[in-house]
Symmetry: C2
Subunit: 335 residues, 2 copies
């Protein structure tokens, strides 16, 4: 027997009741590229909007090997035991290739995935970073409307996705290993300056002293850096996911951050800025997509790019040439 | 008697002969918005391109008060005394308002401005960062064709212009004052991670010890940060523009950087990347400009932005609405 297709009102009701199965199905609508599904998703999200926003959105990043899954499992269990409802999402535009390397394997978070107060959802697998970002932001709205008051957005610390995640969260947590050697290789420059907190993981056993040392070093280093817009001084902590140490301190720190930024107005300002940012990002992405996907541009761009790289023409003359080609082909826009 | 208007060949000949007066006039053509001048500039630049590229392009930034002008004057004199030819340009899109706050007052670099081997040019004052960047990059080409083998591009360390300057130079130098207190307030986060060298200025008199301490602290901090793409480990030095100490070391360091990156291929890779970057930047800027300047968008965008900020609609729905408005008004582009 074919399952009856739910309508917008069914989804809305289910979500507001905290029904995880319906929430999952609604997110599938958000992620679908079928126009029919997108129409449902669009209406559902507008309906959920007034009930969204009441959560702490936390970005979590760190290179593979830092122990992200075990960290999320450990702190996630701590948070649900305190009565919180936690949704764990991911942004990993590359997961299309690897079919969901991140969080795809829920067995890496066995306890948390059977926790009724936790909801784990792998990264949407489709396409561009912009597309993945849109789906993730919309999923956040649905999760908040379903009563989740803490949202984790996980990402790998190696690409462009950190900037995207940083632009959709209230707090950005960078996980690092002790010692400033090879494990840094994978982290992109600039990510460290985005962090509101650095947590040195695996601070247990014979690793404790190394972790404490790293903590002191990073704390000193961060003090030398310019102050954040939020007025917050980034903190460095150590933790162990195995021995569950440092986790209450991490949560307390996040709560202090929330108190500070809600009091000084930064929290709301930033959410407004982020909403505007994504509006402009989406517009710019679409304008670019139309340009670079147009047949007239596609047929010439690589040869023009070669001319630029080989110094036969300037970047600006080349850009002008491409713009002339684009806008002269009966595609005249308002000048 | 009216001065005869020079033609492209006259400019080219004068520039290749190192005639500073003609170089200045040619740059004025580059900066002009008159179509006739732009046409001359365009042809001149293409003619100069094969003779460009043989310089070290160095970005210099630092907040007001750090002593940028005196530093440039001091190291500039050192470099011309060693037989180099130095051009000092600036990127400061805000200078339109203040009518050339940066370098506009050449009296701040009295010695250098009368040095026959130095050429100082204030920031182009017109409009957008993209426009200023284009003019500056084109001016670099003319200066290189005129035989300048060191190009300084100065900017203030407080805005978006550092990213632009960083994207047009080989080496990025950040000037800082000793001590990690209030003087950091002005520097934007993220700039420090772009620096290939930090020079602590005013390391003289009773300031020497403080400067040495700051040097050690920053050097430690930078070691904790991820390695650069170039394979270069950013250096921290101290200098005094008054006592002319530290300046040879700064130049030696830049030469080491050049040797390293020319040997490992990064130098050429990066110049190619930058050329492509500016082509794509120019295209994107023009696409945005047409969009946001179109009458149909202008009339609705602020009310739609308000809806987004007040959470009445999502960023993505708002973007879609604006895109529909734009492309439905007989402005259909290739889909």
């Amino acid at each position: 027997k074919k399952r009856k297709q739910l309508g917008v009102d069914d989804y809305f009701k289910g979500i507001r009741e905290g029904n995880i199965t319906i929430l999952s199905q609604a997110i599938t609508m958000v992620e679908s590229s079928l126009p029919k599904h997108q129409e449902i998703a669009h209406r559902l999200i507008e309906k959920c909007l007034p009930f969204s926003g009441n959560s702490v959105r936390i970005g979590i990043t760190g290179v593979p090997g830092v122990g992200k899954s075990t960290f999320i499992e450990a702190i996630g269990g701590y948070l649900t035991s305190k009565g919180h409802k936690l949704a764990v999402l991911a942004v990993d535009p590359s997961s299309e290739k690897t079919k969901g390397s991140i969080l795809g394997d829920k067995t890496r978070m066995e306890t948390l995935s059977s926790d009724p107060n936790a909801f784990i959802r792998p990264s949407p697998s489709a396409g561009s970073l912009g597309g993945v970002a849109r789906k993730t932001r919309e999923t956040v709205i649905l999760c908040e409307a379903a009563g989740f008051d803490i949202i984790f957005i996980e990402t790998v610390g190696v690409g462009q996705s950190e900037v995207a995640v940083h632009s959709m969260v209230d707090f950005f947590l960078l996980l690092m290993l002790a010692g400033a050697g090879d494990e840094l290789q994978g982290i992109k420059r600039g990510i460290m300056e985005m962090a509101d907190m650095i947590a040195i993981t695996k601070a247990d056993g014979h690793n404790v002293n190394k972790a404490k040392l790293a903590q002191a070093e990073y704390q000193n280093a961060l003090h030398l850096f310019p102050p954040t817009e939020s007025g917050w001084v980034p903190k460095v902590v150590t933790c162990s996911s195995v021995y569950k140490t440092g986790l209450p301190e991490i949560w307390d720190t996040i709560e202090s951050y929330m108190n500070l930024t809600k009091e000084n107005g930064y929290f709301n300002d930033r959410r407004s800025q982020q909403a505007k940012y994504w509006m402009y990002e989406s517009i710019n992405e679409e304008l670019s997509k139309r340009f670079y996907n147009s047949a007239s541009i596609k047929s010439v761009i690589s040869s023009i790019e070669d001319e630029v790289v080989s110094n036969k023409t300037t970047s600006f003359a080349a850009a002008q040439k491409l713009l002339d080609i684009y806008f002269d082909r009966g595609n005249e826009n308002s000048k």
